[in-house]
Every structure is written in C-alpha cells, then in structure tokens.
Symmetry: C2
Subunit: 437 residues, 2 copies
C-alpha cells in the first residue's frame, strides 16, 4: 500500500519531536499501522529551522496554505498553536478533505464545536490526543476505554509547570516567585507564564475532557479558573500538617444540577496516589460508575512525549483511513447529534469543602466571633488550627477546614469575617477535594 502522506505545520518543540520520532521508529510504526507514515511537507515561518530538519525529498515551505492545498497530503498536522492562523489552516485542510491532527488545546476549547462540525460535514477526522496531558493517552481512555461508564468526575494535574512550582515550593520551602524564576531557567515555564500559572492552560484541557466525559459541547467560557500565584509556603505547610497536599487540579463533575467545570489549587489527601505526582509530571483520575477510579500518569509536555500522542493519532487515522466516516470514533466520544445540553453550573452554586487562612489580632474572643459567623452561614467546621506568626507581631493565622458547603455560603462567610475589626487583610481560601467517591 502507498504510504500515508503527512503535511506538518510548525516544527517547533512538538513538531520537531514528531518529525524525529516518526523517522526513528518508522519501521515499527509501519508494522503497527499497516502502511508507512511519511512526512511529505513541512511548513514553518522559520525556514531555516524547517530546512535543517528536513531530509531530502521532504518539501519545505514558509506558507502553510501550500500544505493544506496540496492534493498529495492525506493528513495535516497542526502544531503552530494559537487561534488565528492555526484555525484558518485547520479549516482549510478540512475543506480540502484532509484529516487533521492537532495539539492545539486553546483552539479546540474555544472553537471545537465549529471545527468538529466542519470535519463532520467533510467526513474527515480531527484528532487531538496531544492537546491534553502530553504523552498520556487520556483522550483515548475517555473516548474509547471507558465507554461503558457513566463518568462521575475527572480530576487532573494537567499543567506540568504549575505542578513543578508547587512541588518545589513544598520540597525546598522556597517562595513562589523564586521557584517560577527557576522553572523559567530550566525551560519548564515560558517567558510569559500566565497561561500556566493562572490555570488557563489547565482550563483548556479540562474543557475538552469534560465534553468527552459528559457528552456536552466544549464550553471554555464556562470554566471557573483560579491560578497558583497567591499560594504561600505557609499554606503548603499547614495543608501538610492536616494531611493534605496542594495541587492545581482541573476538575469536572456530574452532579444533580449539572456539570461542574473548574480549575483551582486544591487540597487533596496525601495518601491518594495523585497527591504523590511530583515535578512536571501529569496525572488524571477518572471516576466511572462501573470501573471506579482509574488513574493515568505520565509526561504532560515536552517534545517527544507530546509527539508520541501526535503519532498515535496518525496511526489511528491510518488504520481507519478507509473506514466509513459514520463508524469512526466521534471526536467527543458521543455521537455529535446526541450531545446533551446539561448546563455547566456557576461556581457560586458548586458544593465543595474549604481551607481558609484568616489573619487575626491575637486576643480573646476572636475564635468565637469567627466560628459564630461560620455557623450562621450553615457551614460546619472539620478542623481548626491557630498558628503563631513567625515574627514578633500580635497577629496569628487561623486555619479552618470546613465540611461540604456551597461556594456562595463560604463567600458570604468570608465577607463577614473580613469585616470583623480583629481580622487583618483578606481571608485566603482554597478548596478541598477528598477524591474518594
């Protein structure tokens, strides 16, 4: 059989890795796919970089449109990133009847509905394993491996940069800023780290997983997002003392009122396997009604791990190239005309439990005032610590863990606590997930 011919858009970190791995493992990949998978064209605005990578016989161009228009190309691999030219080229490739493989989580989380519809109309596949958790085949697990289940929830460490920062803060007792600088030096964080540390990257990924798990459209605008920039070493230590680790989690849950969809730093019990995932590694726990909890762990980023997922998609498409489009796996697992309109619940109505750190003047009656407010908001307390300030001030920190309550109740309680004259500054709030049912 003729080789499947690939056009590669973008040969940066992931594109370069894809080229290298396809070349190195060419024979073994062909034995699996049943056909050779060959890169025919490379497009990159950095022509020099593209030329230095390309072997003889590979066409190099600075113009992506030449790839999407080339009738010899079977699959277009988009590894440019961003939501402008990448979107244009993907839609053009689809319009020209080409399958598309992409790692572009931002694009799919925002414009997935439009892109999947275009692909469906043309009977081509859009595959995106590499868009979530790098080399971990989590999209495949959700979309194909766990199809028997009514998924209950997903909780994932899906941003390696922020997990590295939290691991180092805990391990070495260093403050956020210092660890971030170190992460940038090591290449684990970009010059502008906003997407990673503010939770936006994780939000893109949990949006995609939520759609696949629950059969709803991708709805990035509905994710509640909170990053790790306000966390202090103290919080990490207090959590530890109470038996918890703090991780930036992407969480999506099916509850009675709808779907929860949120990213925030979260206390999880130390004894859970996922609490022990350190450094730049990623891990996702998926809870299904039949299978129980399953966990998937691996490198969430990097050149070859992400290439591993890009190429897995290429092999999938090669294996199914000639299959009737109606019988392929739908991009979001559920048949596209059977997606559900279950609402994403506003954060105010989400029920969870909380960690509060309250800075107070150390005098009699303070605890009584705070606990009275909390009780009046119908919140019950599961643990309470009072911590001396390290300096010689008259201030102390009160650490409170609550049982389950609704976000708007805790917000009301926080507003009232902050209004107390003995409370100095803002109350710092984190959420707790037990991940046990």
């Amino acid at each position: 059989m003729n080789p499947i011919q690939i056009g590669l858009l973008g040969v940066g970190t992931v594109g370069g890795g894809t080229y290298t791995v396809l070349k190195r493992n060419r024979e073994e990949i062909a034995r699996r796919a049943g056909r050779e998978i060959v890169i025919k064209m490379i497009a990159d605005t950095n022509l020099e970089r593209a030329r230095s990578l390309a072997d003889s016989g590979v066409i190099v161009t600075g113009d992506g449109h030449e790839v999407t228009k080339n009738p010899d190309i079977d699959i277009v691999v988009e590894l440019i990133g961003g939501q402008t030219i990448a979107k244009e080229l993907i839609l053009e490739a689809i319009a020209n009847g080409k399958h598309v493989v992409t790692a572009n989580k931002a694009l799919l989380a925002n414009h997935g509905t439009e892109i999947f519809a275009a692909a469906r109309a043309k009977g081509v596949i859009v595959a995106f394993e590499a868009a979530v958790a790098g080399g971990i085949p989590i999209i495949k697990a959700l979309r194909e491996g766990l199809t028997a289940n009514r998924i209950t929830w997903i909780a994932g460490i899906i941003n390696g940069t922020s997990n590295f920062i939290l691991s180092e803060m805990r391990d070495k007792g260093l403050p956020f800023d210092q660890v971030l600088a170190q992460a940038q030096k090591l290449g684990y964080a970009e010059a502008d780290p906003t997407y990673d540390i503010e939770g936006i990257d994780a939000a893109h990924k949990i949006t995609l997983m939520s759609a696949i798990a629950f059969g709803i459209p991708v709805q990035f605008s509905k994710v509640y997002v909170e990053g790790i920039t306000k966390l202090t070493g103290e919080d990490i230590r207090y959590a530890e003392e109470l038996g918890y680790r703090i991780k930036l989690l992407g969480i999506t849950k099916r509850v009675e009122k709808g779907i929860e969809l949120r990213v925030h730093p979260t206390l999880i019990p130390m004894k859970r396997l996922i609490a022990n995932v350190e450094g730049v590694m990623n891990a996702i726990v998926v809870k299904g009604d039949a299978v129980g909890a399953t966990l998937y762990y691996g490198a969430g980023a990097g050149s070859e791990p992400t290439a591993s997922s890009v190429i897995a998609d290429l092999v999938d498409i090669t294996r199914l190239h000639t299959a009737d489009p109606k019988h392929r796996v739908p991009p979001l697992s559920f048949q596209p005309d059977l997606l559900s309109d279950t609402p994403v619940i506003p954060m105010d109505e989400v029920e969870t439990s909380y960690y509060l750190r309250i800075q107070v003047v150390d005098k009699p009656g303070v605890m009584a005032e705070i606990t009275r407010i909390v009780a009046e908001q119908n919140i019950s307390i599961s643990a309470l610590l009072q911590k001396e300030a390290s300096d010689e001030s008259d201030q102390v920190s009160v650490i409170m863990l609550t049982h389950l309550t609704v976000e708007k109740n805790i917000n009301a309680a926080i507003a009232r606590i902050e209004a107390l004259p003995v409370v100095t500054g803002k109350v710092f709030r984190l959420r707790i997930e037990e991940l046990n049912n």
Copy 2:
C-alpha cells in the same frame, strides 16, 4: 439503525456485571456507540442464575452452542473461563462470522495465535481488554495509545489478590498464611488460590502485554514464573529498611539479546508511584522511547470494573462493525503478518539485581567467606546488613543487595554459599528493579 445483538456466554461475576452495566447505562452507551447494544441471549449451565438475571425478551439457554449458532447474534461475549468449552465456543462463534469479546487470559495466553488466525481468516474481531488488569484500559493504551513508541519495558502489578496479601503482610505484620485466609474470607482469593499466589494469572497477563508491546506471538510457555508463597514478613521489613517495597510484578523488557518475560516478587524503590499501589488495585508502568514512563492504575478485577472493559470492547466493535477488516486495529497491535521472531530470553541469561537473605551461624569470618564467593562470581554488592535473629539462637540473617548481574551468576554464587558449613538452610533470593530507565 438496528441494535447490535449480543450473546453472553457465562453470567458469573463478570457476566452478571456486564449484563447489569449494559442495562443501567444503556442510553449513554448508545449515545457513544451510535447504536443500541442489546443482550439478546444468555447461556449458562446454571439456568436458574441465568433466568433470574434475564429480562423479558432475552433468550436463556443452558447450551452455549445455541448462542454461537444463532444468526441474529452479532457479537459473542465469552465469560466462562477455562481452556476447553470456552475455546470451542469462541472458535465456533468465529467460524460463524461473529465478533468475539473475551476476558479469558489463560486461553489467549496459551491459544491466542490459533484464535487470532481464525478470526483473521473470517474477518472478525477478537477483543480482550477485560483479560488484562480488569477495568484499566491498558490493552487499548498499548495497542493504540502508544503506537509511536519503541516500547522498552512494561512492569505491572497485575494480580490484585497477591498485591492485597503483600499489602496486608506489610501493613499489619501478619504472616502469609494468615493473610491468605483473610483474603479468601473477603472474596479476594479463591478457594484454590494457586493461579494468583503462584504468579500464573500474572504470567498470562504479561504474556499478552508482551506480545502487543513487542510485536511477537503470545508465548505463555516461555514465561519465567515465581509466586509469593515463600516471602516472609522479615523480607518485607528488610526491604523497607533499604528503601524498597516488595510487589509481585509481571515484567517484560526488550534488551539486546531478545525479550525478557517474567513474573516474580520484586523489590522496587519506595518513591516510585507504583510502589504505593496497595490492596487489590492494579497498576502498570509502560516505558516507551518517545513518551517515557506512563502509568495506568485502577481496579484489576471485580464484577463491574471488568464489565467496564468488556463493554468498551463492545462499543469499539459496534463503532467499527462495518469497517473494512484490513483497517481495523490488529489484535496484537502489529499487523499479524509482521510479527517478529525476537526470542524470549531464558531466565538464566536475564540481567537484574538481587536481594539475598542468608541464614548463617554468627561467628567471625562468615561475612568474608560470603563476600569472597560473590566477588569471584563477578557480582558487586550494593548493600549488606547483618540482622540478629529474634530468638536466642546463634544464627543471624545476612541481607545482601547486588548491582546488576546475570541470573546464572547469582545462581552459581547461591549454590556455593549454600555449600558453606556456616550457612544454614537455603538462601532466599528476590530480584530488584529500579524502574528508572
């Protein structure tokens, strides 16, 4: 579209779970599969059990052949187990042009080649996600998720019964026999626990994973198998002291001379994620050249977790029912005419590192004699402990960890050590895997 019609052979633990989950999640499964998946027939020698499960409209029979012969049945699900009637019915179903889903690891590890060839000749699918690690979609990960990679090694906790026993021995300091009895009482171990505690069940599973990872035929007869029955609480404590946990691992590795394929209790560094997998849970680490190490964790047995995998296969087949057989995923991932004849290496030639426990009479010069023998066999020592016996005897235990060496060298050293007059009884040997490269 018409529903896909299923014939269910065997409604014990997994068959019952399959029936229940398919019924409970029927609507959601159909939204994923694109068609309803309906159980049309049930066969079980225990007719009463089958009748009490079956809803109206489901045909119940005591004769499996009625299922494999029924022209209305699209997919036969074999959950009887064993290698006699199960094999006969699977081959009959294939001969009649039906797809087959099975959880029968013993059958496939021994007769997979014959069964896959028969299926290929008839253009039908044989799917077996449920045969390895219960609900964890590890077959799919290996066969489809990691196709970009040259797999380097797989190491898995793939027998929940033995992992439960080892966890309890460590946690509670109880001896093997007592924990086994408790496991039997809890339903985690069968009345005849041989397959679980002697490593045979794990050997079936690692045989299947090895074939998929390396593109070799299934070769159960080549697995080296050692169970957990000789382990003592002392070994578990000494390992702990040296920074290791003992787990029964199924291991398969690609090395220069061929493929390693083995099951034995193994010391692994405590800090590895897989060392922290406790109780009846399963976990598999897969190392690929591009992706690095990935880990898959979940329930490795039980009614609904295993049913989760059976039904995932049913959805896969439903989605691909009409696809051209040549373009489906091959059962062992590699195209069947492109399997390799890379040899499985005899255990004697396998290179690993070792834990030895040597019972000696406590007198001067003993250590010198032992270390001299070890040095003469070209084995280098990484740790050496001397442990007082708990009773008032004149005996002590010498615990030795070695660096990498070949199994035949360690065996030669053990034979010579056992021949020393100061050594009492047999040397107890375990293998160590660092799982770090």
